[in-house]
């Protein structure tokens, strides 16, 4: 699905990624963990095309996309959410989803609205309604996105991303800043979206070990810009290096 080959990235003199190698397989849920400043979000940005990398290549669906801008990678099937939910605050929740559906429809060449029509088509509005219902936001469809609670904003952002019908869903800390009960809700939601039948690949960074262990098929551990381990949940739990750097403290909470 996505293959990273010896990716290097620096911000000025600070080198934040050192020769990262990784391959994310179709249909799996792949988690990237590590302490703050380990380079998780930067790795995310390199994969999605927000930032370039000095060396190495990023392959998506067997194609080298290292030089492709973010919008093209999105069109090819990447969908991402941000640590701090990025939504269109002045628009209603429904409008947020509608614009995302319209953008996707245009990119995929599906055009059902006559050129002179100003309002979004029936099909678009219906689809927006379905997506909102899936996120349990249907009753807040007419509310300005700025007025939503933190958890609802993150759900709405997930909705914007899902409206693009991505092949790979990239979630940057999907439960950051949420209450424990909201976390359980979002974990359930992600599981229902990325269930075995869906064929959806998920890549996520996350601090909460409970969420990670509940969702991930494979885990990659980063520290100081390097990959220090990769494997199944059990492998990672058993890895002595990982225990030292990261899980040592966290394992008690999990």
């Amino acid at each position: 699905m996505i293959r990273l080959h010896s990716v290097d990235k620096s911000y000025g003199a600070l080198k934040v990624l050192h020769g990262i190698e990784a391959e994310i397989l179709e249909g799996e849920t792949f988690a990237i963990i590590g302490p703050n400043g380990a380079g998780k979000t930067t790795l995310f940005k390199v994969m999605t095309g927000e930032v370039g990398c000095e060396a190495g290549t990023v392959e998506f669906l067997g194609k080298d996309v290292t030089k492709e801008p973010a919008y093209r990678r999105t069109r090819a099937g990447m969908g991402r959410t941000f640590q701090m939910a990025r939504i269109f605050k002045e628009m209603t929740a429904e409008e947020n989803i509608v614009v995302a559906i319209e953008a996707r429809a245009k990119n995929m060449g599906q055009r059902d609205t006559p050129w002179y029509q100003v309002r979004p088509s029936r099909a678009t509005v219906d689809e927006a309604g379905e997506i909102l219902a899936r996120l349990s936001l249907e009753r807040k469809a007419r509310i300005a996105a700025a007025q939503l609670s933190h958890g609802d904003k993150k759900r709405l952002e997930l909705g914007i991303t899902l409206a693009g019908r991505p092949k790979v869903l990239m979630l940057d800390e999907p439960t950051a800043g949420m209450s424990p009960s909201e976390r359980v809700g979002v974990t359930e939601l992600i599981r229902s979206i990325s269930g075995k039948g869906s064929g959806l690949t998920v890549i996520m960074t996350e601090h909460d070990m409970g969420v990670i262990f509940g969702l991930a098929d494979r885990i990659m551990v980063m520290n100081q810009g390097r990959k220090i381990a990769e494997g199944s949940i059990d492998d990672i739990r058993a890895d002595p290096v990982v225990r030292d750097v990261y899980l040592g403290k966290e394992a008690h909470h999990a």
Partner: protein
């Protein structure tokens, strides 16, 4: 409810404008015609600012290009093809905006774009003032109002108030065009770019291309407004596109409300009304105009359009309006 009252008001104002020559003197009619043109000009600017999030400080340059194109072609004896000349001016404005956009929008969008467009407009004005073929500082005077023919029907726009009514129709069509652009899928996508460019890119939107198209459309409409203005004023000078012209849409939008489609138009007419009613107060006119502008910006951050919508909502349903006002201080104005 809100929509009905606002729509009714719009219809009344439009009717008053159309019937104006029957009761007002020629000075007032001239002012009304000028205001209609600059209102459309302001709308074209806000298409860029309020929807694409790009602030141009050089829109006067494009207005000037439209006006000069019309003046030169009319002087050249092409007055028989008046509608074609408007189309030509519009196309040239669009082409120039496109060329500027290709170069400027790739790197700069914020303050750099503002300064760059300001500089280009000034450059154009100074250049126009040096070209003798275009009358240099004196510009091109005595522009004729031509005949307009659509199919079989021909209207002599030089007669009486014919050109005024022609302006009414042309401006109404341009407003309708802007409304359609702003409210359709294209306008919605532009809004997402203004609200969060990166998020829009992650919906697969080629943000650079959308901005370029918006810049081109805005420039074309500004030039179209300029081309309509030349036969109305019957003279064009380099100052037709000076800095005052470029700041006009900005002031109108501030006064009327940037987050409303109608804001710039409301601002344009209010501004004219204020200037007209204070025209005899030589010396303090600017102070009054500036004071009102300052007051509106401080009291109603969403402009007159925002205050109006809040008022109508309150009259229509006091309880809901109050709850709404509390809940949605940062909401955009509903058009």
């Amino acid at each position: 409810m809100n929509r009905t009252i606002s729509g009714a008001l719009l219809a009344v104002l439009a009717a008053a404008l159309v019937l104006l020559p029957f009761w007002a003197n020629s000075g007032l009619v001239f002012l009304a015609g000028t205001t209609m043109v600059v209102a459309v000009f302001a709308l074209s600017w806000n298409l860029l600012f309020g929807y694409a999030g790009l602030a141009s400080f050089g829109s006067g340059g494009l207005f000037s290009i439209g006006a000069y194109t019309m003046a030169v072609t009319l002087r050249g004896g092409y007055e028989g093809q008046f509608l074609l000349l408007i189309a030509l001016s519009t196309a040239i404005g669009g082409a120039v905006a496109f060329a500027i956009g290709v170069v400027a929008l790739r790197r700069s969008t914020g303050i750099f774009l503002a300064i760059l467009t300001l500089a280009l407009a000034e450059l154009l004005r100074i250049t126009l003032a040096k070209i003798h073929w275009l009358g240099a500082e004196d510009g091109i005077p005595s522009i004729v109002r031509p005949k307009a023919s659509i199919g079989v029907a021909t209207v002599d726009l030089a007669q009486g108030n014919h050109y005024y009514w022609f302006l009414c129709v042309a401006c109404a069509l341009l407003v309708a065009l802007c409304w359609w652009i702003a409210h359709g899928r294209f306008g919605r996508t532009l809004r997402t770019i203004r609200l969060d460019t990166e998020r829009a890119a992650f919906m697969g939107v080629d943000t650079h291309r959308y901005r370029l198209v918006a810049f081109t459309i805005s420039g074309a409409i500004a030039a179209c407004a300029g081309s309509l203005f030349a036969p109305w004023a019957q003279i064009v000078t380099p100052d037709i596109g000076n800095m005052m012209r470029s700041t006009q849409p900005i002031l109108f939008t501030l006064l009327g409300g940037a987050s409303s489609f109608w804001g710039p138009m409301i601002g344009a007419f209010l501004f004219s009304a204020i200037e007209f009613s204070t025209r005899t107060l030589v010396g303090i006119q600017e102070i009054i105009t500036g004071g009102i502008l300052l007051g509106v910006v401080l009291l109603f951050p969403t402009g007159v359009a925002g205050a109006w919508n809040a008022l109508v909502a309150r009259l229509a349903d006091p309880y809901r309006a109050e709850a709404k006002a509390k809940a949605t201080t940062l909401r955009p104005v509903k058009e």
